[in-house]
Symmetry: C2
Subunit: 411 residues, 2 copies
C-alpha cells in the first residue's frame, strides 16, 4: 500500500495568498463595480528593461540556429552568468567567490524551499517571526516542524519575534538552534539589520556550528549605508552562511524566473559522528540530481542585468518602486498610523489601528477602500496586528490607494 508523506497533512489548510484570493474573489463577486487596487502580493508590474529584452531576443535566435543551439546546460548554470554575478555582486564588496560556489536557479522560492533537503531531520530550525511562509512550510513537509499549536507555532520550530518592541532586530535564541533563516531586507516587515547585529548571528553560528540561510532577495532596495548587501561582508560568514539572491525583484523576473544561491566551500555541516561535510558538495549533488538548469534563453536575459545599460535600467526600476514606497510610507504616516519599512525595501509594514487583528484590517481595507494588502499574521504569530503593503504597483495606483487611505478609511 502506497503511503503518503503524512507531514503534508500537518500543514494548515490554506496558503496565505490563496486565502487572500478567496476573499478578494468573494468581494468582487458581491461588488462587481468595485475598482480594486492590489498592494498585496509582492509581484512586480513594470515591463522588463530593454537591455534584457534585447538579450532574450538574441538568445532565442541562437536557439533557432544549428550552430548556436543549446541543449542541456550545466545544472549549476552557465559560467557567463556566474562570472558576472561574482564580478558585479561580490567582488566590489571585497568578497571572493569561485565559480563553483554560485548556483544559478529558477528562483529563490525554490532554493530556499529545497535547501533544507541537504540537512538531516534532527536539526532545530529557527525562523524570525513574522516570516516568509516557505521557510516554515518546507520544513513541515520534511518532518522537522512537529505539530501546529493553537498559538500558530509549530512546536519544534524556534520563532524569533521581530516586532516594533525590539525594532525588528532578531535577538539570539536562548535555546540552541542549528539552522537559522534570516531575510534582510526583510519580507514582510521591510526592515533591515545593521552589520553589528548581523555579526552577532554569524558569531552565534560559528560558536554553535549552526548554519545561517540568508535570503537577500531584496538586496537591490538597500539605500542606506551600514546595511550589509551580503552576509559575506561579515567576517567569518563564509564558514556558516548560504546566501540566496534573485533577479525577481531587481530586474522584474518574477515571471521570467532566475535566481542564484551561494554556497561557499568553507560552509560545513556535520554527520552525527561529528564529521564535517562540505555543504557545497551536497547542494551540487542535489541540484545535479533533481534539477536541470535554467533555460539558456533566460540565463542570457539575466546576464544582460550586468551590462552598463542593464545596470542603469534596473536601477531605474528599483527607483520607481522606491518612489512608491515613500508615497505609501509618508501617506500612511500622515493619517496617524504607525509604519515601518519602505526605506530599504519595497515593503511597508503598518501597525493596524486600535489593536485590530490583521484579517479584520484586511477586510476593512478591502471593504472601505477596495485595497488588497497582506495580513501580517499570515507571516506568523508575531505578525498579528500588522499589515503589509507593497510598492510594486504603478505610481498612479499607489497614489490613488493612498488617497483612499486618507479619505475612505474610517479609523
Amino acid at each position: 500500500m502506497a503511503l503518503v508523506n503524512e507531514n503534508y497533512l500537518k500543514l494548515p489548510g490554506s496558503y496565505l495568498f490563496a486565502e487572500i484570493g478567496r476573499r478578494v474573489a468573494k468581494f468582487k463577486n458581491d461588488n462587481p463595480d468595485a475598482d480594486i487596487i492590489r498592494l498585496g502580493i509582492g509581484d512586480v508590474t513594470r515591463a522588463l528593461p530593454p537591455a534584457i529584452i534585447e538579450s532574450l531576443h538574441k538568445a532565442v535566435d541562437e536557439m533557432a540556429d544549428l550552430q548556436t543551439f543549446k541543449g542541456y546546460g550545466p545544472e549549476q548554470g552557465y559560467d557567463f552568468l556566474i562570472q558576472k554575478v561574482i564580478e558585479y555582486d561580490y567582488t566590489p564588496r571585497g568578497i571572493k567567490l569561485d565559480n563553483d560556489e554560485v548556483f544559478i536557479s529558477d528562483g529563490s522560492k525554490c532554493d530556499t524551499g529545497n535547501i533544507q533537503e541537504i540537512f538531516g531531520l534532527d536539526n532545530m530550525i529557527a525562523v524570525t517571526d513574522p516570516v516568509y511562509p516557505v521557510y516554515v512550510d518546507t520544513n513541515v513537509m520534511a518532518g522537522r516542524a512537529g505539530v501546529l499549536g493553537s498559538d500558530g507555532k509549530f512546536d519544534k520550530i524556534t520563532y524569533i519575534p521581530c516586532t516594533a518592541e525590539n525594532k525588528f532586530i532578531p535577538e539570539l535564541p536562548k535555546n540552541k538552534v542549528d539552522i537559522i533563516y534570516l531575510c534582510f531586507p526583510n519580507n514582510p516587515t521591510g526592515m533591515t539589520i545593521p552589520k553589528c547585529e548581523l555579526k552577532k548571528w554569524v558569531d552565534y553560528a560559528k560558536a554553535n556550528k549552526a548554519i545561517i540561510l540568508y535570503d537577500g532577495a531584496y538586496e537591490a532596495y538597500i539605500q542606506e549605508s551600514d546595511i550589509p548587501h551580503s552576509i559575506y561582508e561579515i567576517e567569518g560568514a563564509k564558514e556558516v552562511a548560504i546566501e540566496f539572491r534573485s533577479f525577481s525583484k531587481n530586474a522584474g523576473f518574477t515571471g521570467t524566473r532566475c535566481a542564484y544561491t551561494v554556497v561557499p566551500k568553507e560552509v560545513m555541516a556535520y554527520t552525527k559522528d561529528g564529521e564535517a561535510i562540505q555543504l557545497n558538495k551536497l547542494w551540487n549533488r542535489r541540484q545535479t540530481t533533481k534539477f536541470n538548469g535554467v533555460p539558456y534563453i533566460i540565463q542570457k536575459g539575466a546576464a544582460a542585468v550586468y551590462t552598463e545599460e542593464g545596470q542603469k535600467q534596473i536601477k531605474a526600476l528599483v527607483d520607481y518602486y522606491m518612489t512608491n514606497a515613500a508615497i505609501i510610507r509618508e501617506g500612511i504616516k500622515s493619517i496617524g498610523l504607525e509604519v515601518f519599512g519602505g526605506v530599504n525595501a519595497p515593503y511597508i509594514w503598518l501597525k493596524t489601528p486600535n489593536g485590530m487583528d490583521s484579517w479584520s484590517f484586511f477586510d476593512k481595507l478591502l471593504t472601505e477602500a477596495n485595497i488588497v494588502g497582506t495580513p501580517g499574521v499570515g507571516f506568523g504569530p508575531s505578525g498579528q496586528g500588522y499589515f503589509r503593503l507593497t510598492a510594486f504597483g504603478s505610481k498612479e495606483n499607489t497614489e490613488k490607494a493612498i488617497e483612499r487611505f486618507k479619505t475612505r478609511l474610517k479609523i
Copy 2:
C-alpha cells in the same frame, strides 16, 4: 550543531555522466587530435523549430510592454498551455483530464526526482533495471533505499530486471512493492511495452494499492501500433498512475526546459491508518510551496508545439532522429552485434561483444573508434554487458560513427 542529510553520503561517488566526462576529458587530453563523436548523453542537437522560435519572440515582446508584461504566473502553469496538452496529447486517445490534473514544470528530471517527496519514507520502491538513475538516487537521498551492496543494488529497493532474456518486459515482483517507476519507451533500452503487459502492472497496482510513476518522456518516438502512448489508455490507470511527459525530446527543449506531469484526482495513496488521500492535492501543495512556475516566455514557446505548423515541425525533428536510429540499429546489426531498441525510441541498446563488461566496451569504443556512448551498467546491475547509443547526433556524424564501427572496431 547543524547535521547533514546523511542519506546523501550513501550515494555512490560519481554520477554516470560525470564519470563519462572525466574519461573523455582524459582521452582528449592524451589524444588532442582525435575527432570524437558523441553518441552518449541523450541530448538533442537540432535547432528549435520555427513555430516555437516565433512564439518565443512574441512572448519576449510581451514582456517588454507594460500592458502585456507577466509577473508571477500560476505555479501549475498557464491554462493556455494546459488546455493544449489535454486537447492534443490526451483527448484524441479517449482520455479525459481536467485542467487542474496537469502540472506544467521545468523538466521531467525535476518532476520524477521531486515526486517521491509526497510519499512516506516507509514505501517499498521498485524500479526496472537498467533504469534512469534519477529515480533511484532521489530515493536514496530521501532515505528509502537502504544501503548500496556490492551487487550494485540498494538493499531496500526492488530491482526488476529487463534484459534480452525476458525481452525487456518487466515481470511483476514476487514481494510487495508500493511505488513502481516505469519508463516506456524505455531509457536506456529503447524498448517498449505492449498494452497487454502494461495492463498487468495497472492491475497489480490496483490490487495492492500501489502507485505507478510512468515516465513517458519518449512518447513522441513511438512508431508501432499497440504501443500505449499514455498509461491512461489502460483501464483503471487513472486510479493508480502519475504520468510524466516532456518537451525535451519531441520539441528539442533540453536547454529550454518545459515538461508536464499528470496527477488525476482519482489517484490515491494512504495514511498509515488507511485513510485515502488525493495525490493531486499533495502534488499541488508541493509545487505551490517549492516551485514558482515555468517562465511565461518558455510556456508560450511550448504552446507553439500545439499549432498546425508546430506539429509538422516536431514530427520532422522526430523523423530526423529516427532515421539516425535506423542507421545505428542496422549498421551495428550488420557487424554481427546483438541490438535492441531504436524502433520506437531514440536509444539503441547493444549487447557488448564477447561478454565484455560495459565500461571496458566504453573504453574500447572511445580508444578504437573515438566514439562516446554510455555504459549500460551505469543504469543498474542488469545493464552490465550492455551499451547505449543515442540517435540525437547529426545524420553526418551518425553515419560516420557507424562507418567507424564497421572499420575501426576490433571485435
